[in-house]
Symmetry: C3
Subunit: 402 residues, 3 copies
């Protein structure tokens, strides 16, 4: 190769030399106890497992930076406990589940699903008079839509567990299916937990523009072919979140308004990517596992996801590194930002106004919580537990007569 | 699953929300140079290898947070050296052992087992006049019971290497076997080094109660079936440590007093877990590798351990994750506390009084050492080098006439 | 084994007890932006890839602690860019190369090889009026000798890309071959990037003495057998570096003067290890990847290296751990110093005076750069771009008549 130079002329501008160090917006990334975002997340019920996965064999679960164990006692009640036994710290993962609760393997201390200590077999009188003073830290759980939800916030602020209108009033023959894992990122079950922050996926949902590039024109249609049309987009903030309305006139003349509603802090309802008509048939939760990992829980009408979505003829889990580089999808776009993005070097544009609205709403709600208030979307009234989800693909016929 | 709630009524108590951060008692965990526990450990000879394993091929060893190499010169003398050659730091692991010592591969500097530099071949006159000023850091070693012991403490305080009465005065045909590894945790040779602190195992030895749960009633007998009987236990502090006396009346009417003696700082003599009668036939040392790893050295009369101990029909190394969760043993109970336990959240009970006595004695001895004194159990008099070990299973016949 | 003790008599001297903590000379190790050594390295063109390896498929590269991507646009121009797209940070590793540059997969922003943003397809008018304000950080690159060189320093101080006289004025039939990887350490292609600092290899090149030990007498001849002769060595500092002259009288009576020239900061020209007569036919660059990794770029006359060098009958990549311990080479000697050496515990001797001169020159040049000056070996005059390389094996016949 001959010597090649590309020159502005004069001194090079804009090189990497001397750039200031960049950083993440930790307010949106850190989810552990006591962090702003962690305290916001903790004010809402978060899905922690699929109901049918939880049996009398304890499982490990990590959520919001906390390692826990989850099991079902022999009366069928789910329990979510801090794992280190309050005696001397052996994990209850090795415990044995009995009718009343779980018994630690080391010295047999027995705890129910609310952490009450019911037995200390090595102590005089099985610890009578003393076991009442020991409480295994626990979290309340409730089940709905085939998922187990946990409330990890201040007990006096525990809200009702919401219902979502798109998942209620099912027609005969309709069932709700529950799933957890990386289906929203890779399209298949390759990951139980994704190796990057919850915010990457949260940023993705109010971003209809990337669909036209990443999932359409960049390497070919990954969803419905008509996503190749750049939409006209409006973003609207509502009381509990933000939604976009992405309008397209299809080749056949029909007009479609695709509405995607994000609900504070981490709930979304993505309308059918195959442009099926009508309200959305799915609700999902982007659940932070810790600052640099998340998972996603899904409740869908019908079994929509477990079969996986092929991109360019194969599932993500079957692709080589070379294929993923050549035909990237959401996982590459999100994971490619790193475990946590460096927000200080972002250049947000008009196509990002949905994300700007989302992040502002989140930061405002974090402030509300820090100042002792209640964030949007929590209800303490069992009669007011239904959330209206606006998502869907809404068609109008073409204006020409058929 | 229908919605399920378990309620106290009112506001939930004792949840995980808002718990203070927990911590380890670092005084008992940290074993590096200059730490309280590290300085205590360094006042005693510590086993570092099995004699028959050490040859003219150098081996890496890590102990008390220090990386070293160990070898035997061609005169049969073991050497334990700081590995980084005092010339420019290449590890003597790649050195070549000669009659007089070990020669570094890079520039051929030769060191004997006391770190004297005997040759610098690239220097004028082989470094005469200069090599005397270089000393490869080393530690004195002595061999006994088939083990190589190292003394890593202040040279002027080097004690005699102890003898243990239960390993002396062997009968004809009796031999001592030496072993190092995780046999005391998993029962087999799966680990050379265990992935958790020395203290987990030290806590375990003066804990006769867990034997009745973990090794008996929890999932079935792992040792002698009569361990299912909860013992009557007395703990006694003696000059060099603590021992327990765990008394049981067996089904056949015999009374057994099982005595287990722990000797400061990390020496134990576990009597036969098959309740064989008489004094213990083993001494072992729980050797800290670093703050979150340990290994264990054993000297036994007869080859008691290398065949391994099956739990529930198989060796630990053969079990699946599912089997280990279902039938846990000492490894699960100890490793399940984490690499170092969080002592701030322990709730010690009456069954833990042996551990309380152990920890107090250890902390007292650390203070003695820090103030310039000599800890219990070290002797500087070769005529006073025998330690009396109290461990054993001592039977009395039943009180009814036979 | 009977009890064995080796004694000085009296109190042991020179043991490992109580040694002060040791440390690296970070001035020579740290190569990131803003560090003394990093700023020195950045004043010179550094090889970053082999030209023929760089295609329209982007590759990841790490150099001087910076992660970058490198590609060739469809006009054949190489581009070296900061990988995180200036929009929202997705790595351009998943980008698609077009005629004019590389297009990010997420929202399609297009950048040329100098980081100009040419298209923002989701923005009104493709971002006209706004994309001019976005610049993807980039580094200028030039190609020579089959390598792509990058300049990562202050733009106003960009020097000419040097030529090396030993690689110029080729004879008919001679070609230059380029290679990158660990060939200078293991002798084969086992490593693209070595797991230790650049300084280990830099120390190695002005060290003719180790050749007599490590590569000859220690386990047998690894290079020309005559390297077993300890050479007479002179070290000379010149304006741009240091060279040694290692003189030997061979068995056949010929006198060889082996000259090895190191050029500040990280350039070397190792003469033939088979003692082929004449000037060196290779130039190499020890390229710091980060503080604890480096790689090496080679430009050789003829294909000298890619076939690999066998040591003791096999390639490094084929050897077992046992074989590498028994017959160590440069990799073992260098990697055996650790990821960064602990310079505070070195004992440099007369055989190390070349290294002392090298390190002093490096530290002096770092000071020059820190004070705003130009280090040795950079030229800003295209007419003065040739560097004289002194390396070679220069023979004189024996003094006896043939």
């Amino acid at each position: 190769m001959t010597d090649v130079q590309v020159r502005d002329g004069g001194v090079d501008q804009g090189t990497g030399y001397g750039r200031a160090p960049q950083h993440s917006n930790n307010t949106l990334i850190e989810v552990g106890p006591g962090t702003a975002c962690g305290e916001l997340m903790r004010r809402y019920w978060q899905p922690v497992a699929v109901s049918s996965d939880i049996t009398t064999v304890p499982k490990k679960v990590r959520i919001l930076g906390e390692d826990l164990i989850i099991f079902r006692d022999r009366k069928g009640r789910p329990g979510l406990l801090y794992p280190r036994c309050m005696h001397r710290g052996t994990t209850l993962y090795y415990g044995k589940v009995e009718d009343e609760g779980i018994r630690c393997c080391y010295h047999g201390w027995l705890f129910d699903v609310e952490g009450h200590c019911l037995d200390q077999p090595c102590e005089p009188n099985h610890g009578e008079g003393h076991r009442e003073k020991v409480r295994q830290p626990w979290y309340p759980v409730e089940e709905r839509y085939g998922l187990i939800f946990a409330y990890m916030g201040p007990p006096e602020k525990k809200p009702v567990l919401p219902r979502y209108d798109v998942l209620e009033n099912l027609k005969p023959g309709q069932e709700i299916h529950a799933l957890m894992g990386g289906f929203g990122s890779t399209g298949d079950g390759s990951f139980d937990v994704l190796p990057y922050s919850w915010l990457h996926m949260n940023d993705n949902v109010l971003d209809p523009f990337h669909v036209q590039v990443l999932h359409s024109t960049f390497t070919g249609a990954q969803f419905h072919p008509q996503f190749a049309l750049m939409p006209q987009v409006d973003f609207t903030q509502v009381d509990d979140g933000v939604y976009y309305s992405a309008q397209r006139t299809l080749d056949d003349g029909r007009h479609v308004d695709r509405i995607s509603h994000w609900i504070c802090p981490n709930i979304m309802s993505v309308p059918s990517i195959f442009l099926e008509s009508g309200p959305s048939t799915m609700v999902s939760w982007v659940v932070p596992v810790d600052d640099t990992h998340y998972t996603q829980a899904f409740a869908t009408i019908g079994n929509q996801l477990s079969g996986g979505l092929k991109i360019d003829g194969s599932y993500w889990g079957e692709k080589t590194e070379e294929e993923r580089q050549r035909v990237p999808g959401d996982f590459e776009a999100q994971f490619g930002q790193g475990p946590a993005s460096l927000h200080s070097e972002e250049h947000l544009a008009t196509s990002d106004r949905g994300i700007v609205m989302q992040r502002r709403l989140l930061e405002r709600q974090m402030k509300v919580v820090a100042e002792g208030g209640d964030p949007v979307g929590v209800s303490f009234d069992p009669a007011k537990d239904v959330v209206h989800v606006r998502s869907g693909n809404f068609f109008r016929p073409s204006e020409a007569a058929e």
